[in-house]
Symmetry: C2
Subunit: 333 residues, 2 copies
């Protein structure tokens, strides 16, 4: 905040009224050509910029959108933030971003903050936001604001979910591994979100279908420390030495697993096959490169933004969308 020049200052210097200045700024048709030129000149000379707070107040639209993410550092949704911000930006919206953590109460707090900031649309990055506390906060504080949730679904007249079929993706991975003769498959997951739960379900159902209903070995490790996943991998092999394939709930932890396997001299994929999930950019440059289930982050993110933008335009959008999820085979299987 400074010695900001207002439309009144401009008006005075141009010898017109404030409303005329406003008309010029907003490209109103019926303004005298010379008047417009004169005002534009003064506007430029003074580096005038509109005060968005004032504009918002009278027009009742903030041209702001909100992005909520648990933690930009650790979730693969980080890249999604780029697509979402970029698309909003291209449509004239500025994005407020918040790292909310995984606690529903805390997440709900940010829903309220978004309402306070009068954002016109919201995108929730990831299924961590798929919980009743958040759902309720939306009902109370943002009942008329289109809210999209990436990789999740919640019931609500203004909530638009778009999910990747991770359940089916993991099943495909199981099928692939079974087809390659793997007998003893395991699954290692981090923090249980709805998304991770459906991956686990896909794993179990996959075993039933493709592995003669072999007993599902599933490890859940709820930790932010990557070392814990290296330990878990080793522990898994200690408990089940005949494991010949491991599917991880995320590429990042698959890489950690790969690292610990390599450390104890286990050959990948000869002895143990490894599958990640996200198809992140790190999967293709790891050693060995990582076979990964692609949960279509790019597509789900983009569809999420476009859905809320379409709703803002008054269009109709399906409240629940899902897209297929493929597997990208590389050297680790």
């Amino acid at each position: 905040m400074a010695q900001d020049t207002t439309i009144y200052d401009i008006a005075a210097k141009a010898g017109v009224s404030a409303s005329t200045v406003s008309r010029v700024i907003n490209n109103y048709p019926y303004v005298n050509k010379e008047t417009r030129a004169k005002v534009l000149k003064v506007l430029a000379e003074n580096n005038y910029v509109q005060n968005e707070a004032a504009r918002s107040l009278v027009t009742q639209n903030s041209k702001m959108a909100g992005i909520l993410i648990a933690d930009v550092r650790t979730t693969h949704h980080t890249e999604g933030v780029y697509y979402v911000e970029h698309e909003f930006s291209n449509n004239g919206y500025s994005c407020l971003i918040y790292n909310t953590g995984t606690d529903p109460e805390n997440q709900a707090k940010y829903i309220q903050i978004l309402s306070q900031r009068k954002v016109e649309a919201v995108v929730l990055m990831g299924s961590v936001f798929q919980n009743s506390t958040v759902q309720n906060a939306i009902m109370v504080y943002l009942p008329n604001t289109p809210v999209a949730i990436c990789n999740g679904y919640m019931d609500g007249p203004n909530i638009y979910g778009v999910t990747a079929d991770e359940y089916g993706g993991v099943m495909k991975a199981v099928k692939l591994l079974a087809g390659k003769g793997r007998k003893k498959l395991a699954f290692i997951s981090n923090h249980i979100t709805p998304s991770n739960q459906s991956k686990i379900d896909g794993f179990k159902d996959g075993l039933r279908l493709y592995c003669n209903a072999a007993e599902p070995i599933v490890m859940e490790v709820d930790s932010g420390d990557i070392l814990e996943f290296e330990k878990a991998t080793l522990q898994l092999l200690k408990n089940h030495p005949d494991t010949d394939a491991i599917i991880f709930s995320e590429d990042y932890i698959a890489l950690a697993g790969l690292h610990s396997l390599c450390n104890i001299g286990i050959k990948v994929p000869e002895q143990v096959a490894v599958v990640g999930l996200n198809n992140s950019k790190y999967a293709e440059i790891s050693n060995p490169s990582l076979t990964s289930i692609d949960n279509m982050l790019y597509d789900t993110s983009l569809i999420a933004v476009r859905n809320v933008l379409e709703v803002l335009r008054g269009g109709h959008v399906n409240r629940r969308m899902s897209i297929g999820s493929d597997i990208v085979e590389r050297s680790s299987t």
Copy 2:
């Protein structure tokens, strides 16, 4: 935007005036205890939330900060965004984030947008923003707003730079490699930013000091495609088959290099040592784990925010700060 309840609605329901409601909301002292209780009750019953736009307009402070980053997907500053947002949030500020790309004109455009949104502080993530176009835009559009630049420096009364000593960090790496008997060192860099330039300078001066002024082999690859860096690594070895150590300007491209070396059967570190830069979380789980120069992203990000927050509090802050940069040795050297 909806059927928002205002302080007038609350006032009416509580049987008091709007100003009293405002006083309660803002915790003014001289309000009758029972009046306050009554107002608070009505406030809660109606899920009242303040309109920030209106508040901003009269108080002349937006409680918003701006974060500019070239591309959250591809710069290692992504993690910095977390620290910056988190710290701002803890101090009551909401963060507007924009992906600006590397074109100075475009970056400057966002400076203007930030001014329009009346942000109270700005953090620029990375030395890509260290250019005269941005510097000038700040002078014109944000002359009184504290601006911090992470890993860079620009002259200006309200610009606060904090850099890691990457020059010295790379020199240390050269020293380490020379100490291990490496004779033929090379450096591969991506897009030339001021930061990358100083890394290259450190490389050259390091060779002069520790490698008997060996001729510096430097490759610059300006591409967003990671495959180009794999190719560059192979090309380097073709042109200089006796290369026995490569320093990369970032971990991510070092990992790509590692991958291509591995692919053609070159042993790391036996035949070629590899050093990355950033000390990212991927360095410790790669195969082999990656020796990396730590440019203190956590520290520089946090110092950047804290500097602008301190300025907002009226405190004095050095406009130019630098912190040491260490090397973390792992299996790749």
